[in-house]
Symmetry: C2
Subunit: 250 residues, 2 copies
Amino acid sequence: MFAEYLFAEYPHAAARVFSGIGGEAVPLMLQTVSNRHPHHFSKDATLLLEGDKCNVVYCVLDGWIALSKALEDGQNQIIDFALPGDIVDPVAADGTTSSVTIEALTDASLAAISYGSWEIMISEWPELYHLAHLVEAARQARRDERILRLGKGTAEMRVAYALLEFCIRLAPACGSECHQFHIPLTQQQLGDYVGLSSVHVCRTMRRMVRNGILEMHDHMDIRILDAPSLARLAGVDIEELKREIVPTRM
Amino acid sequence: MFAEYLFAEYPHAAARVFSGIGGEAVPLMLQTVSNRHPHHFSKDATLLLEGDKCNVVYCVLDGWIALSKALEDGQNQIIDFALPGDIVDPVAADGTTSSVTIEALTDASLAAISYGSWEIMISEWPELYHLAHLVEAARQARRDERILRLGKGTAEMRVAYALLEFCIRLAPACGSECHQFHIPLTQQQLGDYVGLSSVHVCRTMRRMVRNGILEMHDHMDIRILDAPSLARLAGVDIEELKREIVPTRM
DNA sequence: CGTCTCATTGATCCGCCTCAATAGCTGTGG
DNA sequence: CCACAGCTATTGAGGCGGATCAATGAGACG
């Protein structure tokens, strides 16, 4: 939503968007070099790595972006996924360093907007501020839902919620009542997202398949057969969840 | 930090702050009626409850505010604490409803700023926008740290991190190198924050006391005796954590 | 002095992790 | 074409961390 408006209704700002990177009027491309090295970024994209200066906001135009943190022992936790239309502002409270690691899970393209450009854009087009506010509210609402389930939910609830979240967030790309979608994740990554081991993710999803709630085909092509049951497992009302995590212009 | 600037450097805005509530130049008071009914709000504060319209941002002036969500079965998870200087914007992606339940853990006072006032203030005083951005970045950074530990950390790590977070966030109120502080929480509430049962919170903290890392006195007066060990248990570097979660004007 | 709340400690149970083995799939090189 | 390696998914077996249940202690309060 955000990206569409950005480009459709404010071409002046859209042009300015790309000026954040070396003044060039082309989007920053993040490309995974190969499946073997999914963490590798093209050179321009190393800006995104933890510890670097960050004085830009990214708007995801295409692809899946994962924001993650790791413990010393190597344990990795995916904090959130950023999908097209989402805004990524990884800055920590010191205003300069990034608090998360950012990686592209698929080939992806981002628009980089420097803080300076961003402020100018907002002052010139207040509607942009409202839209960004809604996108940020959506991000916060879905992280809060996940915190709730990380703290208090069972494995089944966590996985069911994650699948519903994907279903809802991907719906704009495949029709409003689409219950079939693809997630570019291994079970290991899905486990890193919901706080479970890959083994237990596998068991949990297998059980859902056996119970006729899901269908799965080669590597995470998912079809939800029984959405009400899945929502019950996740402990959510689907319509209510949509209101909370899908940015909607008033 | 934010609140100080708000009042010290922009009295005009500060006056406007309170105009969000019925035009009265007094802050909205949230008072717990008694310890027996900590969830009870004074009448004016019911604005804050989940499901209500929310078109205001709150700036915490004094007291502890808890943001929480609950599952159907009554399980409660505290998403975050808002302390003096923090900004609370509970709105969900629909732009109107709140995605969390807000409650005061102590007597508390909040400044309520309507979205309209907020935009005017920002346009008149751009520095306010930068400050709010840092406060929001701090909120996000500490929630991300907690998501990491909810997903991958042991009980010891979760509790240790929470204590360090409190220590750092409360430091401005009691000197920069203060390792002694009070948290107005029961072990049940601390458990709701870190995703553990109150029983296990008790065991974990007792062990820390036995190991000479902490001292505890009547209901959560805490003194950190061995900060390096606590930081090791939490899996953080204290200085790094400060940079990430304490808003700092550049 | 009884009641209420909260902290503490013990005992038991279970959900999920870990380890391990197998199977399926893809790409690669002989 | 087959053989092999590498990665992911799947399934089983066993162990452990934290939940749950239960009992006692300790202040705070009326």
